[in-house]
Symmetry: C2
Subunit: 667 residues, 2 copies
């Protein structure tokens, strides 16, 4: 299967820029590309072991789990070899994370994921030195496998409402962990079902008869030799989901389980031997981890969408359907303008979100340094930014991924296209680590506060535009340019925020409670936070691309500029109701933007395949019959069908047992 | 598990209307309700056999198939008993269809579905009398199981491009069926994989050396006794999909397979013994079946969405999360206005689409009678209407279903909620029986034709509004009422259509080909067709509810009116860009509509659970841990997890084989 489809060959020959240059640009430099490729090669060296047997989609849930353990142990053994984990810290840890998220071939998640993504970082950031000595090395070497158990059956968003208790017993100097209700069972932690033997458990701490709020405890859940659940531990897996079925999400209940006092993670808050509770000095530091995970999710969104759009673009170049003119050959579906709109806007979205993820990462690092120096001034801004970027990037990734899937017609509905799973993974991120609606409301809360104080308090970078576009001398004259559109989005955001403040104020003045005013304005609050985020995303893409375009060759700079324009014009047209309502845009301007959009689609058309080739996602990671580099779509669809165990027998046993008697009327 | 959750009890006690009255209203009369319940009871009498064993979600693909045959034969035996199928015709057939779609408990489709939905109706409408005698009775009694094979690996939308050939051999008076390429393999037919032994195959007919276009042939694919594939038949299943995994979708290739001349379905076109080809006199009649299937899909969309919204509403009444005010009990999440907007608009959407499906059904029946009398005047209109209603109802159902799923947070991601599968089924209908974008372009083609002729040709009912709102004396003054909004949507539609005509004309005048002008205008064409459909949906809901509201009690009429208002105001706010661009709506009007929306959400809130109870979907059909009538959400989630075979052993065998050696560093 090595001969490349001719349409794809022709597409590649038409590309106007150097594809490798794009790859290096996207990776962040040639060295990063080379490092990534070395890592991929290490994984691919075990190709035969990793990709043998019946494809996961045909397996039962239990078989899928067993296969994920088989593959996971191969994969993580390689990763353990690649990284020298002995002197690990949060930055080295990020390499591990890259390993997990990037090079891993665990298409549907891994039971080891949370060990790296949550267990280790929480251990590193919340254990005291004594505790780190005890657990970090063992965790890094996978001598113990851990997970992080916070969410319960009855509580996700509202963590103050968690019901699991950890009560200090002065006599034995132990904590007693207990699940008082069914709803207090932990529910969701990855790897918790059958894999992990340790777990960080978030529980309500009680000392000296008083509740001290939620704190993290390290709890052994299974015997290290036999893997049997320890006494008082009720553990299992939660069942199948839309996606992430190799993650082994679990539940966990405690029946008065005792752990030593020293198993409470005590870097910040402490419980002394005599039961004295010592509060954390800077409990705001835990926001750092939360923001960190959301930054990672924004990067993830780009990765998922890059996959989806690579598949949809290559398929649309190979697939031919219908004639525009009678008697002519059938068209590549990539030539239909409606198809181009669905796919090219998604390509542009990958670039927009990549720039924003990077900027967020830099902002996070900058502010995080300040945090550790005790400066919490910009924490609110960072938190608000991460909240809305997480919400908007995951929602967009899910939406564009699904558009890519639908753009592939019936074949996009096949698991072997890998589009259904990619959608399932992107849409999951709209919920986990903060439901998107809840997150946008958190950003809105920050924005309203900022707006109320805008004349008295100095504004920080991400909200400086609010002051600019609301200043007395500001000229609100519409301009059909990228700058003009970005400015338009900033005006929309400012006006929505100020309108929310006004509405809330009026409601409260007329006697409504603060809370009811908030609730009855929440649809507009969400909308305002989204608009703020759109303004940020567009301006960041615009600014950072402008800065970088001198560092790339002219042909690449040209196509990057086209993508910026496409993304900006597309969103202007998606939101022209807002622009009409809050800016001076006219009907003629909108018609102009519509023509601009179609012109841009035409310009990007010859480079579409080159652009997704530039993402450089190897076939083993794409795992798609429709998206492979060689474009042998139909051969791969048929080959994957042949792997179905149902096709191993010409007649299934159910024919004799049920079908024949039924057809003969004898059932 | 029979005690009902207390929050749900309280919700039900608050309901202001009679829930049974709503059920009868939705079913179309108390007799229909009783008939439906009888049917459901017949199925439920086999409850133990149908719902035993490990839930499907934990099974392998092969096991799922075997279970679907086991359950399907039980189910269809009951249906065979319920209906007297001896004197079946298309109308009786509809009962069968209701049986399949309504009462069936096949959550993820059935390998017998296409036998009823396509094989039998095509047989009935396209076989001649001789052929009907030979096959219809055997099919009705399931002595043979058939399917319908049209789509190929390489062709879906463009059926003229199908590659399978049926060449008439004068000497033996047989057709030779052949698959000349890999892309010519049939791909997708339900039940084709391992279940059906007969198949209607659509192939390019060749007689006397000439291609006569595509025609249907009945082909035996498996031996009636052994079920082995017949010589020259290459048949199997296509693999797993996002949903519909119990449907047993198959592929089929022919290696010079011979069938008797009399196996071409000859009601319309014919091939005589000497190879003479006789064209169909009214080949437009086949549009009837196509439209019929699309009508059914609109009804399906309502059913899927009703399920999703029942689940989301009940769960949101049971689920409590966060406090609005410190120290107060946690709120039912149904009290959050953002949640209400997501869910109540979906409830309203069920009603809107139900009214529209009924109207479409009546229109179809009216026009179908005309067709059979040789009057094809309104066929174009019917086809255009069915195309856009299929596209908009499936797209809306998918979108609202997914919003309902997301509104249930993490638990909505669990298969046991049944929301992921419900989404997978609704989104499938965006593609099958005509890709939505392609269908909207077909409607657009009709609308442009109508607009060009509007002054010269009498307009038919569904497009009469175009003339009204474009007539010289028409007053375009915005009015904040249902009537005003409907009128606004009609103006939007008219202006978009006229704008497309103008754009196309200008492009062609400036030298562009007709085809390129069409392609480069296609984004706006799709948008115009969607706006036309929105205008139809809103006006039909408004008109038909007004007609019927005198037939129901005042409390029910009141809540129906609220739903109409909610649906109309919601869509006005979704599309206010269009309204601002094309009507005289003002910023103040939009602010008014926003307040109206929140007021309506508040009015519907006490009746939300009553409304979804009124859909009267039995627990066995909902099949949802989150949506069951008793609201025992957490007990059901845990109970379903316990059914996972992974939880049967405390330690999975992969621990000893892979995990322990890995953890001990020995792998």
């Amino acid at each position: 299967m090595n001969k490349v489809n001719e349409d794809l060959l022709r597409e590649r020959s038409k590309c106007t820029f150097n594809i490798e240059e794009l790859t290096h640009f996207l990776d962040g430099g040639i060295e990063v590309t080379l490092e990534r490729k070395r890592r991929e090669q290490a994984v691919l060296s075990k190709r035969e072991e990793l990709f043998c047997g019946v494809p996961d989609e045909y397996l039962s849930h239990k078989e899928k789990y067993e296969n994920s353990i088989r593959k996971g142990t191969i994969l993580f053994k390689i990763l353990r070899q690649i990284y020298n984990m002995e002197n690990s810290n949060l930055s080295d840890y990020r390499n591990v994370l890259n390993g997990v998220l990037g090079a891993s071939i665990s298409q549907d998640g891994s039971p080891f994921g949370l060990h790296y993504i949550m267990f280790m970082p929480v251990l590193i950031s919340q254990a005291d030195e004594e505790q780190k000595k005890k657990w970090v090395d063992r965790a890094l070497n996978c001598q113990i496998i851990g997970t992080y158990a916070q969410t319960e059956l009855g509580h996700g968003t509202f963590i103050r409402g968690l019901e699991t208790t950890a009560t200090y017993d002065l006599e034995t100097q132990e904590f007693i962990l207990h699940s008082p209700t069914l709803t207090s069972y932990k529910w969701w932690p990855g790897g918790l079902g059958q894999t992990a033997n340790y777990c960080i458990v978030v529980a309500q701490l009680y000392t000296k008869g008083k509740c001290r709020g939620i704190h993290p405890f390290i709890v052994q859940v299974r015997d290290e030799e036999t893997h049997e659940p320890l006494p008082g531990i009720k553990v299992g897996e939660i069942g199948t989901k839309m996606g992430l079925n190799s993650v082994n999400n679990g539940y966990l209940g405690f029946d008065h389980v005792r752990i030593p006092r020293t198993n409470m993670l005590m870097k910040h808050a402490k419980v002394l031997e005599d039961g004295t509770y010592i509060k954390s000095k800077n409990n705001k530091l835990i926001y750092g981890t939360m923001v960190f995970v959301r930054v990672i999710i924004v990067f993830d969104s780009v990765n998922y969408l890059s996959k989806a759009v690579t598949i949809a673009t290559r398929f649309s170049a190979v697939r031919r359907q219908s004639q525009l003119k009678e008697g002519e050959p059938e068209l590549q579906i990539l030539d239909y303008v409606t198809q181009q709109e669905m796919i090219f806007t998604a390509i542009a979205g990958c670039f927009a979100m990549k720039f924003n993820a990077r900027r967020l990462w830099d902002t996070f690092n900058g502010i995080n340094t300040q945090l550790h120096e005790g400066n919490f001034e910009r924490l609110g801004e960072l938190h608000a930014l991460a909240c809305c970027l997480k919400a908007v990037s995951t929602a967009d990734a899910a939406r564009f991924t699904e558009r890519c899937r639908l753009a592939c017609g019936g074949h996009g509905y096949m698991h072997s296209s890998n589009l259904p799973l990619t959608y399932a993974l992107t849409t999951a991120s709209c919920t986990y680590e903060g439901d998107n609606t809840v997150l946008l409301l958190q950003t809105a809360r920050f924005l309203l506060k900022v707006w109320r104080e805008i004349d008295t308090v100095p504004v920080t970078p991400t909200i400086a535009y609010l002051k600019t576009v609301s200043s007395p001398g500001f000229q609100d004259k519409w301009e059909n340019s990228i700058k003009g559109i970005v400015r338009g989005f900033q005006i929309v955001s400012m006006k929505k925020i100020s309108s929310c403040v006004e509405i809330m104020t009026n409601k409260i003045m007329s006697g409504m409670s603060q809370e009811d005013a908030w609730n009855t304005t929440s649809i507009q609050l969400v909308s305002a936070a989204e608009s703020h985020c759109r303004a940020i995303v567009l301006s960041t893409f615009h600014e950072d691309l402008s800065k970088m375009s001198s560092t790339v060759s002219a042909p690449l700079a040209e196509v990057l500029q086209q993508l910026l324009e496409l993304y900006t014009v597309y969103w202007a047209l998606e939101k022209y109701g807002d622009l009409l309502l809050y800016t001076s845009i006219s009907k003629t301007d909108i018609e102009y933007l519509r023509r601009w959009l179609v012109t841009l689609l035409g310009k990007i058309r010859p480079n579409a395949v080159g652009l997704v080739d530039g993402f450089d996602i190897i076939d083993e990671m794409l795992d798609s019959t429709l998206g492979a580099y060689d474009g042998r779509v139909y051969e791969r669809l048929m080959a994957q069908a042949q792997k179905s165990p149902l096709n191993a027998d010409t007649v299934n046993k159910s024919f004799h047992k049920y079908l024949k008697p039924f057809m003969k009327g004898k059932l």
